[in-house]
């Protein structure tokens, strides 16, 4: 509805006032994370001109990188995000192509099953997955976490990729088949290059899902050096004492990668979102 209607001045003003209110509410916590991360331990509680950036310092950042295992958490998060999403995308490409283009018994009911499993929430699965990893000897191991991430990333990426494959016109593939290309050849030479944006999107969503995950890591990992960034944040909470400065410095670093990746895929975000990222 790209409207050509003219809006009256008061209604235009109201629109922008409401928009501005939404933007302020949506962004204030990020401002507060940033501001807190540049304040000293005492400075975070100073009430005088609390909202204004003053007396800023980098000492929290120096602290988290030199005295805390932040780089280790960063590495764990990055490795889990990359490996889990690459693995899911490969499984998703194979299954997606088979379900969309190949003719065999059960392919329709299978597509439904994927959606169903994708909607199953992790709060239902974390205890059985913990027991499974326990019996496999994978508790307190990043391998166990990687496996448990596949329980949401594989159905999610497969479902996304399935949708993109459906949107590619079948005629192109038929032409290649007539020219003597095999079915697997069609997948690699025609479908994959055409679906590349969709596959990159699935990869980025998969990466973000893993990067943001919290419940599986706190149930499966006990050692501080095996934690990821989101779970590592918890180590700045000791009973009722919060080290807000270092906590927010780490929080800011945790937020940057998903936001940068999101900018690349903003165009596809809506379709990806109705399929849903793992949260809500």
């Amino acid at each position: 509805m790209e409207s050509t209607r003219r809006y009256s001045l008061p209604s235009q003003v109201l629109t922008y006032v409401v928009l501005l209110a939404f933007v302020v509410i949506a962004l204030f916590p990020f401002y507060w994370i940033g501001l807190t991360s540049f304040r000293t331990p005492r400075g975070v509680y100073v009430r005088e001109q609390m909202l204004v950036p003053r007396n800023l310092t980098l000492e929290n950042y120096a602290y988290i990188f030199t005295e805390r295992p932040t780089l280790m958490w960063l590495r764990n998060s990055a490795m889990l995000g990359l490996s889990s999403s690459i693995l899911s995308v490969i499984i998703g490409i194979l299954a997606g192509y088979a379900l969309v283009r190949l003719r065999f018994r059960g392919n329709r009911s299978f597509a439904k099953l994927i959606l169903f499993t994708y909607l199953l929430p992790s709060s239902l699965l974390f205890i059985p997955l913990f027991i499974l990893m326990h019996s496999l000897g994978l508790v307190n191991s990043l391998w166990g976490v990687l496996l448990s991430y596949q329980s949401f990333n594989v159905p999610f990426c497969t479902w996304l990729i399935l949708g993109y494959f459906r949107s590619i016109p079948e005629e192109l593939e038929d032409a290649a088949l007539i020219d003597g290309c095999t079915k697997t050849g069609v997948l690699f030479r025609i479908v994959l290059p055409l679906a590349a944006p969709g596959i990159v999107t699935a990869f980025i969503f998969g990466f973000t899902n893993s990067w943001n995950e919290f419940l599986y890591v706190i149930t499966l990992i006990h050692s501080r050096e095996l934690m990821t960034l989101p779970t590592g944040l918890g180590s700045y909470i000791m009973g009722d004492v919060f080290l807000w400065g270092p906590l927010m410095a780490t929080a800011l670093i945790t937020t940057i990668p998903p936001i940068i990746l999101f900018m690349f895929v903003q165009r596809y975000v809506v379709s990806g979102m109705t399929l849903g990222s793992v949260k809500g």
């Binding site: 194979l94 944040l233 399929l275």
Partner: protein, 310 residues
């Protein structure tokens, strides 16, 4: 397909029978599905079945469980007052958050659907709460809502509050805060999805209505809302599933406290399973509420499949 069969007439008849029964590409098809099947079975089906069997045992961390029949279910339903508190909390939290998200999301969608400058830019900004890791934003809110935090600072300074409120430490304010934070986090999803839905409504409908003298409210009620019916249903049900199962926000803001005042079913399951190490009893909480959830999913999936094929 007929031509394909003609050229393979000399093949062994078993393969031909299989192809006829299982479909032309069955071998390659099943091969390509194999990794997915392994994941679905190993990481979803098997754990689900084992979840059911755990609830019939007194399983604790590190010890094998003994079969105790339906004792966990009996205890949970009839001997555990906290469970009923959790169910009640879950409904208050879910209904409160989802309706707030719906209202906020619809408002921002209507605003963004008007002719405004830099729409894409503003849409991106509004999406930030949704894109950032939940753990990060939940902890940011924990700090904002702290007794010494900035919200109390602002509200006491402009005279709305005389004394700072312990937002997360009293029953009423704690549940209220959780609903607010969950709505803050989730409203962009509603907003952007509804906006996308609005942009597919043909402009002619509005022009015709305007010619007929329909007011802005009538246009919204008789054109926008009915056109968004499926989208609204899908986002509402999706969000209901996610909110009902929320763990991070509740856990990081209140830990289900004070006492069990804000425990929802994911945090209660976690506490039973990992703080008192009663895995069997904890999983019973999940399993007992699963039928509700599966019911919701079964309503949702056909809707999403229909949208997918449109």
């Amino acid at each position: 397909m007929q031509t394909a069969y003609a050229t393979t007439a000399q093949r062994p008849s078993l393969a031909r029978a299989l192809r006829q029964w299982l479909g032309a590409d069955f071998a390659l098809g099943y091969l390509m599905l194999l990794p997915l099947v392994v994941v679905l079975f190993g990481l979803l089906a098997y754990p689900t079945i084992s979840a059911l069997s755990i609830t019939l045992q007194d399983k604790t961390i590190g010890l094998p469980g003994r079969f105790i029949g339906l004792q966990n279910y009996y205890q949970l339903l009839f001997k555990d007052p906290i469970f009923w508190r959790v169910v009640q909390n879950g409904f208050i939290f879910t209904i409160g958050s989802v309706s707030l998200k719906l209202v906020l999301g619809m408002t921002i969608a209507l605003v963004l659907n008007r002719r405004i400058v830099l729409r894409g830019f503003f849409r991106g900004l509004i999406l930030m709460p949704w894109v950032a890791p939940t753990v990060v934003t939940a902890l940011a809110w924990r700090w904002i809502l702290d007794l010494m935090g900035v919200l109390n600072y602002i509200l006491t300074n402009i005279g709305i509050l005389k004394l700072p409120v312990p937002w997360l430490a009293k029953y009423g304010p704690a549940m209220f805060s959780l609903i607010m934070v969950n709505a803050w986090r989730g409203f962009p999803f509603f907003g952007v999805t509804l906006l996308a839905g609005m942009q597919t409504i043909p402009l002619e409908l509005y022009e015709a209505a305007e010619v007929d003298g329909a007011s802005a409210w009538q246009r919204f009620w008789h054109i926008t809302l009915p056109s968004l019916r499926t989208v609204l249903l899908v986002v509402t049900i999706l969000s209901t599933i996610w909110t009902f199962n929320d763990f991070s926000i509740v856990w990081l803001l209140t830990r289900g406290g004070p006492v069990n005042a804000t425990d929802v079913f994911a945090t209660y399951t976690y506490k039973l399973g990992f703080e008192t190490s009663r895995l069997g009893y904890g999983e019973t909480v999940s399993v007992i509420l699963a039928p509700v959830l599966i019911g919701i999913i079964l309503i949702l999936s056909p809707l999403m499949l229909r949208r997918e094929s449109e």
